[in-house]
């Protein structure tokens, strides 16, 4: 049990021997051509199946299943709520949690409030106040409410927060319920984030009939409900198939570095040997049509908690059995630490600046991983 609690920083650490860890590490850290246990390329995602609107009672929902059997369901519910009058000042104070853009927007005439988006994550085997679900939900919520469009995209100028404003006295409150259906085999963040993204894409809000500052009053026809994230209109959507000029919910990608290599969508074993684990939130920049970075969070690499291997030179039982030359420590180019090849040493978590820069670049660049993921998700028929 204590093991599981500890695993809150990342997923459970697989029970691998130091030798296995070391083998895994060395295959993954092969310069330029890492060999992943499942044979994927470094930027390749695991195949997944996705569908939307699986829960008819919700405003929007999605299910994503990875081929390894992990599955998540996300349901989004919206509720009309009265805005407490003092919200503008509150929004400014609260926005200080590192959301500079948000704060600037908050000082505008109509301010949304980050707390209008509520996210709860349920993971089997965890209580809802355990560190992992709380941490994960906060991480995803923050990029969600922090994502801000540009002024031109009038509807979503202030991002999701502004979209939730109905008028000065009323707003929508969004409940995002994330449910992981399987045991978390890998760190569940990418799965949950992708599912949430998809669910939000399919989310609709009832069409408003009232105007201005009137009490909200809605059309009872669900067919005319409007998307939370507006779609490109049919005509323009044909010509501009990427739909890049529209604000999209952010996705959070999990990236690890092993040696000099950068690996996307790591599985559990890969995370176990990672030098650094990063959660990168990206979204489309509706102005430039490119991707932009919303946040980077480092996640405690679980490799820190593994048992170290013992070099033969220090192993009493092996004393004199091998030639001392085999055990010469070399400098690991990625971490700058001295290591004996083939002998596992727990990672300390340090990572070079250049590696991080490379990670961000790979994620954001045109035709890069980020674009591939977003396009893939947009390809899921949302109906």
């Amino acid at each position: 049990m204590s093991n599981q609690r500890q695993a809150s920083s990342a997923s459970q650490v697989p029970h691998l021997s130091p030798a296995e860890l070391s083998y895994l590490y060395s295959s993954l850290s092969l310069p330029k051509t890492p060999i992943r246990p499942d044979g994927r390329s470094p930027t390749q995602f695991r195949p997944l199946t996705a569908e939307t609107n699986i829960l008819p009672g919700t405003n929007g929902s999605a299910r994503i299943g990875f081929a390894d059997g992990t599955q998540a369901i996300v349901g989004v519910k919206a509720e009309v709520e009265k805005t407490v009058l003092a919200n503008e000042t509150l929004a400014r104070n609260d926005g200080g949690a590192g959301l500079d853009r948000g704060e600037q927007e908050g000082s505008a005439a109509v301010g949304g409030h980050g707390s209008w988006v509520q996210m709860s994550i349920e993971i089997p085997g965890f209580r809802d106040d355990d560190a992992l679900p709380v941490f994960l939900s906060e991480m995803m919520r923050e990029s969600l409410v922090g994502a801000v469009g540009t002024r031109e995209a009038s509807d979503m100028a202030g991002g999701l927060k502004e979209r939730l404003v109905i008028n000065k006295r009323w707003h929508w409150r969004l409940y995002i319920d994330v449910l992981l259906l399987s045991q978390p085999l890998a760190y569940p963040l990418p799965l949950l984030s992708l599912t949430t993204h998809l669910a939000l894409l399919s989310t609709k809000l009832p069409k408003r009939k009232s105007q201005g500052e009137e009490d909200p009053f809605f059309d009872d026809d669900w067919a005319v409900a409007e998307y939370l994230y507006p779609r490109p209109s049919l005509s323009s959507g044909k010509t501009n198939s990427t739909g890049s000029s529209f604000v999209r919910p952010p996705v959070t990608l999990l990236v690890i570095s092993v040696g000099e290599n950068i690996i996307f969508d790591p599985n559990r074993e890969e995370i176990a040997v990672a030098d650094a684990v990063l959660a990168i939130s990206i979204t489309r920049d509706s102005e430039a049509g490119t991707l932009k970075l919303l946040s980077i969070r480092t996640v405690d690499p679980p490799s820190r908690l593994t048992q170290p291997g013992v070099p033969n030179s220090e192993n009493v039982s092996m004393l004199g059995a091998v030639a001392p030359t085999e055990d010469v420590a070399v400098l690991n180019p990625a971490t700058g630490e001295e290591e004996v090849p083939g002998v596992w040493r727990p990672r300390r978590g340090g990572v070079k600046r250049s590696v991080i820069a490379e990670m961000v670049k790979t994620a954001l660049k045109k035709g890069g991983v980020g674009e591939e993921v977003l396009e893939g998700l947009e390809g899921v028929e949302v109906s």
């Binding site: 997944l48 199946t49 996705a50 939307t52 509720e79 009309v80 009939k209 009872d220 669900w222 899921v380």
Partner: protein, 1028 residues
């Protein structure tokens, strides 16, 4: 990356399951997406007698019977459809032509789709209810087809398809399914020749076009009706609303009225308290003045003028906005009749007319002047304007065609006429008709369809004719319709609930019989009943006998109606809808079928009857020692009329036990009465006369009698009150939430303000309204030795200041609010007249349950007495019916008096001239241009207009027309402080040639019945002339 979405078609079960998704906004402001799953089936029958397939698949009930099929196998045909046809109306066809569908001459074999019914419910609840009752009747052969649940006819809404289009498609789909289905089944049974045509009735041009493409026969309502016999009359019955809209769109006329606020704006305003909601009420004296009582203000808010009332019609639920303070005014002191002001309006043209015509503006301005002038009584009252309508309470109105508005020789051409409703508070209605010349002089029923911004008057359509004006049948029916009294004979389903033995029903002889379960045998008690002469429905009987301990046993025995009327059967439902028996002068509209009311339940003398008894033990001083309730069997010894009972009591030679017991009852009743007055009960007066229909030959006016009060009247009354109070206490003990009680709210003191001022000013009398006791005492002091009727007059006026008593359900109010103000009782209910009031019947059931009476079959009958929601609905209905029954009764008397006067007038005219009758009258209200006079002899109130004052030096009486001429030459000097009005001729201001009238004054009046033109036509206005 690969994405996968499961396809519905891959699921074999999916075809049977579908869902319905919509958004629901709750009262608390929540907005929810609602998903309902629909399971489609294939065993919903087509219900055509022609079909050979459906009888085998239709679902059967527990006894293995299937519902009888509705649609005829030989439906009626028309020229276009010689083989007969089934009709499939869409929602709009029903909205526009419900009166047609109810017509008995056509429209048989109609299939109503569930989709259409639901849509209709959303659009108009009254029409929905009418359609439901159509479906229920057998003779019209309307079949409700649950198309949404049948696999073949369920229509999935396509992408980008509007709801209307989808519903129209549903109608066409059903029609084509019927066609196919019946064709197949007819082929099997070799009856192909009889398959009728399926005709979709829709007014949607697009739908007709699509129907053509889909090979479905579709016709517009007008086109279909045009192919029927008697089409002219039928075409008149199509609602004008749509047609009017079509024509107006092309030539958008001038907009007379401001637009209503949007629904959301109204809701915002109501929640924020800037707008108010209430029921729009029009003053009976001034059609331009309305008032609305809203909780936020003590006094009702005034709505002055047409533009402020903005198309609201009396009894609509409207939303109003307060006007700025500088536009506040005093209520009008003028009598304004619509027909006098707008007499010359032309129904066809609206152009060149403003909403507020100059004439109307003048009528209003004079008021304003009056309000600002002097230091008029009271401050200006807040005024408001209507900004939205929550609910139209339009109903069918009885009226007649204004003959001035018809073209003299229009022939059969369609023309627009004005219909003047009998109800003065409803504006005239513009009706298009092809039969104008036939309708003149008829009592007709019309309905309002719409009131658009560009029309000065509401638009409606003709429904049916009741007969000629002033004929007894037409006028009685008109009266019943106006007061929404259900006067149709009881349907068979109700009569089926009566005991099979009919008049031969008897209390079972053997006490072993289940009818005796839980009943006490009170047959040996000396019970008698005292009622008005000729009473057939005897609700109550009494007895009193000395007990060995010196006390007395007093019993009130009430007809045990709940024994015969079981909860929730057809008879019970009918009774709960009727609510009360309505008494007209020459007619009684029963709540329960004749057999029960006048025989089986009626506590007739000399026969055994079931009763529900309340029995007290009282001391010789009428202190109640104990009370007891029981179901019983009694045998009344005698049925007295009040007079007979009085004579027998007063006759000292009668010393038998029965008379003694009546004397005891009388003695107790006097003590009880005194106690009640000591507690502060009010002795109120209402201007009631009763009419004893005498022989035809005599002077009908002699039948009009003011009600005489005998001691025996109050004997019965006292014990009924006592029984009601005792029962109320018991029922409330057992059902703290659902007891059906009756309360009379304490009127707010400001209601009495006017009357208090008037009394203080004119007579120097004071009215203490702090409590009912104080009021009773001060009313007793309002005596004018010169004028014996004055006290009664004040009581009548005081009664009008009060709120009316109402039934309610105990949970709806706090216990302190249960008080009955007039009776000064902390709790009250109605228990003693179950034959004629539904409330009493319910209370009987509650009491039976409270005392643990288990009914004849052993299980308690508490159904229908335990759910509060249902009870509140019933209370609302019976309060409404009760009020209407009173109004109808009064109107009936008024009509009778008018007719009696007319008959007399005609008789007089035969021998000379009609000089009317000279009577005494009392001034009740003073207006700037007239007064209201009350004539106690006939219990009528008459408005006396300027021309009806007979000035000194004026000779004799003129005809109506001649008198009307006088009005323009007259002028008044109105003093709102002193409540006086002086009428004089314009050029002769001398005192000698004028008449001054003041409030409460006794005046000599001359009463005659005159044929009135305009609004009151046919009603025969009773003309009151003040002669001095």
């Amino acid at each position: 990356m690969k994405s996968l979405r499961r396809d519905i078609s891959s699921n074999p079960q999916a075809a049977n399951v579908t869902s319905k998704v919509f958004v629901r906004s709750t009262k608390s402001g929540k907005v929810q997406k609602i998903v309902r799953e629909l399971y489609l089936r294939q065993d919903i029958p087509c219900s055509s007698k022609l079909c050979s397939l459906c009888p085998s698949i239709a679902p059967a009930d527990a006894n293995g019977n299937i519902a009888p099929f509705v649609l005829s196998d030989r439906p009626a045909g028309t020229k276009a459809f010689p083989r007969g046809h089934y009709l499939f109306p869409d929602t709009n066809a029903l909205l526009n032509g419900m009166d047609l569908f109810e017509h008995t001459g056509a429209f048989y074999d109609v299939v109503i789709l569930q989709t259409v019914l639901e849509e209709l419910r959303n659009q108009s609840l009254p029409l929905y209810n009418r359609l439901l009752s159509l479906i229920k009747t057998d003779e019209k052969r309307f079949y409700l087809f649950f198309n949404e649940f049948r696999l073949e006819t369920h229509v999935r809404r396509g992408p980008e398809e509007s709801i209307n289009d989808r519903n129209d498609r549903a109608v066409r789909t059903v029609a084509s399914w019927y066609e196919e289905h019946l064709r197949v089944s007819a082929k099997k049974s070799k009856k192909e020749k009889f398959v009728p045509a399926m005709v979709v009735i829709t007014d949607d041009k697009d739908s007709i076009r699509k129907a053509k493409a889909e090979n479905v026969t579709a016709l517009s309502l007008a086109d279909y009706v045009a192919g029927l016999e008697d089409s002219e009359k039928l075409l008149d019955m199509i609602s004008e609303a749509r047609e009017a809209r079509d024509t107006k769109d092309s030539a958008r006329g001038e907009l007379f009225y401001p637009e209503y606020y949007s629904m959301s704006k109204l809701m915002t305003g109501l929640r924020a308290g800037t707008l108010h909601q209430g029921v729009f009420n029009v003053s009976p004296y001034n059609y331009l003045e309305g008032s609305i009582k809203v909780p936020a203000f003590d006094k009702p808010l005034l709505i002055l003028g047409r533009d402020n009332s903005n198309r609201a019609i009396s009894s609509d639920v409207v939303v109003i906005e307060l006007l700025p303070k500088d536009q506040w005014k005093s209520p009008s002191a003028k009598i304004v009749d619509e027909e006098a002001v707008t007499k010359n309006d032309n129904p066809d043209t609206d152009e060149s007319e403003a909403v507020v015509t100059d004439r109307e503006r003048k009528a209003l301005q004079e008021e304003a002047k009056q309000a600002h002038g002097k230091n008029s009584e009271g401050n200006p009252q807040p005024t408001a304007k209507v900004v939205g309508v929550i609910k139209r309470n339009w109903r069918q109105y009885v009226g007649h065609v204004d003959s001035n508005s018809t073209a003299s020789h229009a022939g059969r051409r369609q023309q627009t006429v004005f219909v003047l409703p009998m109800e003065k508070r409803v504006p005239k209605i513009r009706v298009r008709t092809r039969q104008a010349s036939e309708l003149i002089g008829q009592r007709i029923v019309v309905t309002i369809d719409s009131w658009d911004r560009d029309s000065r008057y509401p638009t409606g359509h003709y429904i049916r004719s009741l007969g000629e004006l002033e004929t007894k049948g037409a006028e009685t029916e008109a009266l019943l319709l106006e007061y929404d009294v259900q006067y149709k004979p009881f349907p068979k389903s109700v009569l089926d609930c009566l005991p099979a033995e009919g008049h031969d029903w008897k209390v079972p002889a053997s006490k072993e019989d289940k009818g005796w379960n839980g009943r006490r045998d009170l047959r040996d008690l000396l019970i008698c009943s005292i009622d008005p002469p000729g009473c057939q429905d005897i609700d109550d009987a009494l007895h009193a006998r000395p007990l060995p301990n010196g006390n007395f046993e007093v019993g009130v025995h009430i007809a045990d109606v709940s024994h015969f009327v079981k909860p929730n059967n057809a008879m019970d439902l009918e009774a709960s809808v009727r609510g009360t028996t309505v008494y007209l002068v020459d007619k009684r509209i029963d709540m329960l079928p004749h057999l029960l009311g006048t025989d089986l339940c009626s506590l007739k003398p000399y026969v055994e009857r079931y009763a529900f008894s309340v029995i007290w033990e009282v001391t010789p001083n009428a202190e109640i020692v104990s009370s007891n309730f029981t179901k019983s069997v009694i045998r009344s010894r005698e049925a007295f009329s009040y007079e007979q009972a009085q004579l027998r009591i007063d006759d000292p030679s009668q010393t038998d036990e029965l008379t003694e017991s009546m004397r005891n009852l009388l003695r107790f009743s006097k003590i009880l009465r005194q106690k009640r007055y000591d507690a502060g009960a009010l002795n109120l007066a209402s201007p009631e006369v009763r009419i004893e229909a005498g022989d035809e030959a005599g002077d009908p006016l002699t039948d009009v009698k003011t009600k005489a009060m005998l001691e025996t009247n109050s004997l019965v009354e006292e014990f009924m009150l006592l029984a009601n109070i005792t029962v109320a206490t018991k029922v409330y003990e057992s059902f703290s939430q659902t007891a059906l009680l009756r309360r009379h709210a304490t009127p707010p003191p400001q209601n009495f303000e006017d009357l208090t001022n008037q009394l203080a000013k004119k007579r120097g009398m004071e009215l203490d309204v702090s409590s009912s006791g104080a009021l009773a005492n001060s009313l007793d002091r309002c005596v004018d030795p010169e004028n014996p009727f004055f006290n009664t007059l004040v009581r009548i006026l005081a009664t009008r200041c009060m709120t009316s008593a109402e039934y309610f359900c105990a949970g709806a109010h706090a216990e302190s609010e249960f008080r009955h103000y007039g009776l000064a009782s902390p709790i009250y209910t109605h228990f003693t007249s179950p034959i004629r009031r539904y409330a009493d019947l319910l209370v009987h059931r509650q009491l039976a349950s409270a005392i643990g009476y288990e009914g004849e079959d052993g299980h308690a009958v508490i159904e229908g007495v335990s759910t509060r929601g249902k009870l509140e609905d019933i209370c609302r209905n019976i309060n409404y019916r009760h009020r209407n029954a009173q109004f109808a009764g009064r109107a009936s008397i008024e009509y009778y008096v008018g007719q009696a006067l007319k008959a007399r007038g005609e008789k007089m005219a035969a021998g000379g001239t009609d000089t009317g009758i000279d009577e005494e009258g009392y001034v009740m209200r003073v207006f700037e241009n007239g007064v209201v006079v009350f004539v106690p002899r006939f219990g009528i109130e008459g408005v006396v207009r300027l021309e009806d004052f007979v000035l000194p030096g004026e000779s004799g009486i003129y005809s109506v027309a001649e008198r009307r001429e006088l009005a323009v030459h007259r002028t008044t000097d109105f003093d709102s402080e002193e409540y006086t009005v002086r009428v004089s001729e314009k050029n002769h201001p001398e005192k000698e040639r004028s008449v001054q009238v003041e409030l409460f004054q006794r005046v000599k009046v001359n009463i005659s019945s005159v044929k009135e033109e305009g609004r009151g036509a046919g009603k025969r206005r009773v003309r009151v002339l003040i002669t001095g």
